[in-house]
Amino acid sequence: MTDRSPNGSPNGASAWARHSRLRVVPPVQPRKLAKVPFVELADGRLQGVVSSGSDIGRVYVSSIAAGTHNYNCSTNNNRPCGGLYGSPCKHLRALVAEAVVQYGADRVSRYLRVEVPEGAEPADCLGGVHEPAPAAVVFSRFLRHLAYLEVPDTTLPIPELHWFPATGTVG
């Protein structure tokens, strides 16, 4: 009755086109953030930041390109990750695993354009090679992400948020 998804009903497409109050970006699933504090599907890559297991002040910037699946992992100062021996390191595997929790396997495989046979892990189906990618861009996006937590709250009304309804669990 109130399904507005484009494929949810026979006239779904026109309903999607003619509604103003929609949740276009599906909400992400909650996950533990300690190991991989930041994951995103952006700029044509699955990219994120993985906390170092040994040094609490160090993080790795890991990314996998959509389509080619070429990957990179380095510290935020562009030192290559020591775990990249011709195959993805544990940081990259952690990044993919957490992306699957956050976005769901479907959305991740669709974005990376990867075929995942039933029962297989997306991380095992990537065929790329190591290719340097800009860590600084991803790291600054992570810092920008963290900076949101420092933006003060406001008690003035924001009418624009009426366009952005919270949505609930279905069922």
């Binding site: 103003s20 970006v25 963290l146 624009e160």
Partner: protein, 517 residues
């Protein structure tokens, strides 16, 4: 809301917005379609749609400017000024639809609404919203809230903690917003790529640093995130055409110099300072990846014994996409009184709190304390009739903003979840139950009374539940969206929250370690 009131509301024609609304919406659709493909590539049909939008204003003061803008856009020379004129036309049209809808609802409910205080000759009059197509009833001119009450100027209290000074003047930032929006309109949604979306990042960051531009920052951030998530848009089958045109138009309007920065303090001026008792009706939750707004609807019984009023009070907090569900309630925790009143279902005593002409109470937790228990359904039953509804600020007259609290009872729930009220069906929007609260579609389906918000979207009215009375295991319970404001009370939800660990704390630790290097 009684069966006869619902029948009166839904009995009208053309999506219940009255005569002319269908035509106004068709004009919007035409213009919105032009934005899908970009103003740089206007095929004949879409050029006609832009011209038709302008033609609707022929008999108004906006007529000449819009005609000129439409001509220029069709011939391929697209300036900021032309886009602003067209956006103004689109805002005025949806404003007219809003006015007709709200009037229909008020009439059906017998709800009395305050008049927007006119301030003729106000230099801050917003472009566009003052003009209306000839077919629509004349509306009041757009104006900023007056700072006077009974002729007495009201002192401006500081409503916000001051933050660090903005990195650059608001004017420069707004210029950046306008050029990004122009680029978008020329390119069209279909042509948007990662580079164009990423170009908004810096602008949004600069906006977030200026408190008075917060509305625009939150809007653009949500909009850009949708474009980013939809990239490459060229191959996406279905686009939220009306929605993105709404967001683009609104952003362009708010980015005009003086619209958000007109007042030297950057804050809307309060119409009055009020004291009295607040009786909570429920809380509406708005959310995108980087912001959440908790908007409480309540009835204010003024301490001086005056007419009780329908008010809203809001807290908006910045967040990141991985903070979701019940964890959201941890973000506004400095507003302890508000959260406690929601969680424990109690009324609130307030003293000297600014009330804006829009009916928005600017929350000050230190001027409020939790009072006696109050059930939202009882509040709606006893206090909603007769409460004075607030005027809608001219800038905010969009159908989406309509969120009128009502009480519905004595219905039968149909198979698809609608409420059958004496033979008239009211669609219930169970997709809009926030997952930070315990209210579920199942509880709504088992309910016998419901406090909710009347909303209009996609051509029809729906009820968005805020609180219900339902039978669970033969026991009558009241469940409301704000019940978990102090944390989930349901063991299953509490467990889930513990499992997800403390996202807020982890990110704050990372921020502390990495941000200030």
């Amino acid at each position: 809301m009684l069966a006869v009131q619902l029948a009166a509301l839904l009995g009208g024609e053309s999506g219940n917005a009255g005569a002319g609304a269908e035509e106004a919406l068709a004009l919007l659709d035409g213009f919105d379609d032009a934005l899908v493909h970009g103003l740089a590539r206007l095929a004949d049909e879409r050029a006609d749609a832009v011209a038709a939008l302008a033609a609707a204003f022929a008999a108004t003061p906006l007529g000449d400017r819009l005609a000129e803008a439409a001509d220029a856009v069709v011939s391929g020379s697209i300036t900021q000024e032309h886009l602003t004129a067209l956006a103004g036309g689109r805002v005025a049209l949806s404003g007219a639809v809003h006015d007709a809808l709200l009037e229909g609802l008020d009439t059906a409910l017998g709800r009395e609404r305050a008049e927007w205080p006119p301030t003729p000759g106000d230099p801050q009059t917003a472009g566009g919203t003052g003009a209306h197509p000839a077919a629509q009833p004349a509306a009041q001119p757009a104006a900023q809230p007056a700072a006077q009450l009974d002729g007495q100027p009201v002192a401006q209290p500081s409503t916000q903690p001051s933050t660090q000074p903005p990195a650059q003047p608001a004017g420069n930032v707004l210029g950046g917003v306008r050029s990004w929006l122009r680029e978008l309109a020329i390119t069209g949604w279909r042509g948007v790529d990662h580079d164009l979306v990423s170009a908004a990042d810096q602008v949004i960051e600069a906006l977030l640093a200026v408190p008075e531009l917060r509305r625009l920052a939150v809007l653009l951030d949500g909009f850009a995130a949708e474009l980013r998530a939809s990239c490459p848009i060229g191959s996406v089958e279905h686009l939220p055409v009306r929605r993105w045109a709404d967001l683009w138009t609104r952003a362009l309007l708010l980015s005009q110099d003086g619209v958000l920065t007109g007042d030297p303090t950057g804050e809307p001026r309060p119409a009055a300072m009020v004291s009295g008792r607040l009786l909570v009706l429920g809380v509406d939750v708005h959310e995108h990846g980087t912001a959440v707004q908790f908007q409480m609807h309540a009835v204010l019984e003024p301490a001086d014994g005056g007419t009780s009023r329908l008010v809203r009070t809001s807290v908006t907090v910045a967040k990141v996409d991985t903070i979701v569900g019940t964890a959201l309630w941890k973000l506004p925790q400095r507003h302890k009184v508000l959260l406690a009143a929601l969680a424990d279902r109690r009324s609130i005593e307030i003293a000297d709190v600014p009330l804006l002409d829009s009916g928005d109470l600017v929350w000050h937790d230190d001027r409020a304390f939790v009072s006696k228990p109050a059930d939202p359904l009882a509040t709606a039953r006893l206090c909603l009739p007769g409460a004075l509804a607030p005027a809608v600020p001219p800038l905010d007259r969009a159908p989406v903003r309509i969120a009128e609290p009502v009480l519905v009872e004595g219905y039968k729930v149909t198979k698809d979840g609608s409420f059958d009220l004496g033979g008239t069906l009211l669609a219930v929007d169970t997709e809009r139950l926030p997952d930070c609260g315990p209210l579920t579609p199942k509880l709504v389906a088992a309910s016998s009374a419901c406090v909710g918000l009347m909303r209009w979207d996609g051509g029809r009215w729906t009820l968005q539940p805020l609180a219900v009375q339902a039978k669970v295991k033969r026991e009558a319970v009241v469940v409301a969206t704000g019940d978990w404001a102090l944390g989930p009370t349901d063991p299953k939800a509490a467990k889930a929250e513990a499992r997800a660990a403390d996202a807020v704390a982890v990110l704050q630790e990372r921020a502390g370690r990495l941000l200030r290097r």
